[in-house]
């Protein structure tokens, strides 16, 4: 499960990107994406992609595994690309490069920054209800993931899931998700009780203070400027 692995990478790494705070890294990612939107030149986009992969390598992150996480985006992009073939292969290539590079720039930030630090930044732009719900989504995702794993194991042991039996599998999946949904609704009512007991009145997304500026924040900022200059000159 990607989210689990991303969370793990973010909370267990020690690179200079891990140490930088969320805001400059988010600026970094946005700059890359702006560069991607502005440029239509495959060579520049390919250079950006290689640059990001190299950055991942320098950060000692598992490059291939993170690149693999852009799989879905790549597939979507290919569908768009294939349906637009114009004789030249350059435009489809451009589309795929854009999609994958953009996704990678976000993943670099996510695999070096804890979710909740990013949410805490977003909380300053989002309505209270949405920002707090984001935090709740994050926490409950891991609680429910564990339950989903356990339910799946229990069904597997009773042979409700096996490689060749598609219909049995679909039915079992329906059962599993049914149980999961019901438990999720129960969990949500217990969680409201817990929030009430602990005095919650809204606004928890802003409890996490944004970190102060540190020397580590220079790296993503310098890279942002470089990306923007790069697209201005070469893109």
């Amino acid at each position: 499960m990607d989210l689990y692995f991303i969370d793990y990478l973010a909370s267990n790494g020690h690179s200079f990107f891990h140490k930088a705070s969320a805001v400059p890294k988010m600026i970094f990612s946005m700059s890359i994406i702006i560069a991607i939107i502005m440029s239509n030149r495959p060579s520049f986009l390919a250079f950006l992609l290689l640059f990001l992969l190299l950055l991942l390598k320098i950060l000692r992150q598992p490059v291939l595994k993170i690149l693999a996480m852009t799989f879905y985006v790549a597939v979507f992009a290919i569908i768009f690309a294939v349906s637009q073939i114009s004789g030249s292969f350059l435009w489809p290539l451009t589309i795929i490069l854009k999609a994958v590079t953009a996704a990678l720039s976000v993943l670099i930030v996510l695999t070096t920054t804890n979710y909740f630090d990013i949410f805490a930044v977003l909380a300053h732009f989002l309505p209270k209800l949405i920002a707090d719900s984001l935090f709740m989504t994050y926490r409950s995702f891991f609680i429910l993931l564990k339950e989903l794993k356990n339910l799946t194991m229990a069904v597997k042991v009773k042979r409700g899931l096996s490689p060749r039996k598609i219909f049995t599998n679909l039915k079992s999946l329906g059962d599993i998700l049914g149980v999961l949904f019901i438990h999720a609704v129960d969990l949500s009512s217990r969680s409201s009780e817990i929030l009430a007991i602990r005095g919650y009145k809204g606004g928890m997304a802003k409890y996490r203070s944004l970190r102060c500026f540190s020397k580590y924040d220079f790296a993503p900022l310098i890279l942002s400027v470089a990306a923007l200059l790069g697209v201005g000159i070469f893109g």
């Binding site: 935090f135 009430a196 602990r198 005095g199």
Partner: protein, 279 residues
């Protein structure tokens, strides 16, 4: 001592028409008292706790906490109660351990400098200072318990309510929790209300024991009184701690040697007895 909790013949009907009653004796907790609630599965322990903390509204009966009705004056009452539920995983809301422990204080608008200080002190007390920046879903069961306990204690509650705090823990972790609870009780004079199925631990933590059975509170007393009352034991389908079983067995075969309150006392008493017989 002041009564801080008083429940008289509580009845609750759940939406699916399940009726739960806790009648019979009154359920009373005094300031600083350590109270354990015993009773079989489904006897209404959790239901009773939910009423005390104002989460459920009684269909019938009288519930007073700090002299107030908890459902009516929820905000005031809950301010002085700390709660640890059965499933601690669900109770940890904050994205990191320190955030979670600080949660109640921040909700109350305590200034952030003070929050930090109090969180630090609390983590020190609980021996979890090293977990500060950890993410809750990477903690072990025992660690999660301690984090939840710290989060409940941070606001210095007058009353601490714990639903099966020992469930699923290994013996050493249980001892640690008992130790922590005793310290907190001694230091802050927080009253404790604990439900459990672990009779062997009761005499280590309880001043007073309540026994729930068949919709009634059928007994109140110190652990020894309760465990030596065959009628209560029988009625509640309960087993006393092992060392008392042993002493009861001895009594039945004609050796009435009195009854110990704890394991250590039991060992001492037996040794004494044997020594006496030797001479």
């Amino acid at each position: 001592m002041n009564e801080i909790v008083k429940v008289r013949c509580l009845k609750h009907v759940y939406p699916d028409a399940t009726e739960v009653s806790v009648c019979g004796l009154d359920f009373v907790v005094h300031e600083g008292e350590k109270v354990v609630i015993l009773g079989s599965n489904g006897s209404g322990k959790t239901t009773l706790l939910a009423h005390i903390i104002g989460l459920l509204k009684a269909t019938e009966g009288e519930i007073k906490v700090f002299g107030k009705v908890p459902t009516k004056e929820f905000d005031e009452v809950i301010l002085n109660i700390g709660v640890v539920f059965q499933n601690v995983d669900e109770q940890i809301i904050g994205p990191t351990v320190e955030d979670d422990i600080a949660f109640a204080l921040r909700n109350r608008g305590v200034p952030s400098g003070e929050v930090d200080e109090r969180v630090d002190a609390m983590m020190e007390t609980m021996g979890i200072a090293n977990l500060r920046r950890k993410i809750p879903h990477y903690l072990s069961g025992g660690e999660k318990k301690k984090v939840a306990l710290a989060g409940a204690l941070i606001a210095n509650p007058v009353l601490l309510v714990l639903d099966e705090p020992f469930k699923g823990l290994d013996p050493i972790a249980k001892e640690e929790i008992i130790q922590l609870l005793s310290e907190i009780n001694a230091k802050h004079k927080s009253a404790l209300v604990i439900t459990t199925h672990e009779v062997n631990l009761v005499s280590k933590i309880a001043d007073v024991v309540y026994v729930l059975s068949g919709g009634n509170i059928i007994a109140r007393g110190n652990p020894k009184e309760i465990f030596l009352n065959p009628q209560v034991l029988h009625q509640a389908n309960m087993q006393p701690p092992d060392f008392l079983v042993l002493f009861s067995a001895l009594r039945e075969v004609g050796f009435d040697v009195g009854f110990p309150s704890t394991m250590e006392e039991a060992a001492n008493m037996l040794a004494e007895l044997l020594r006496k017989k030797d001479n």
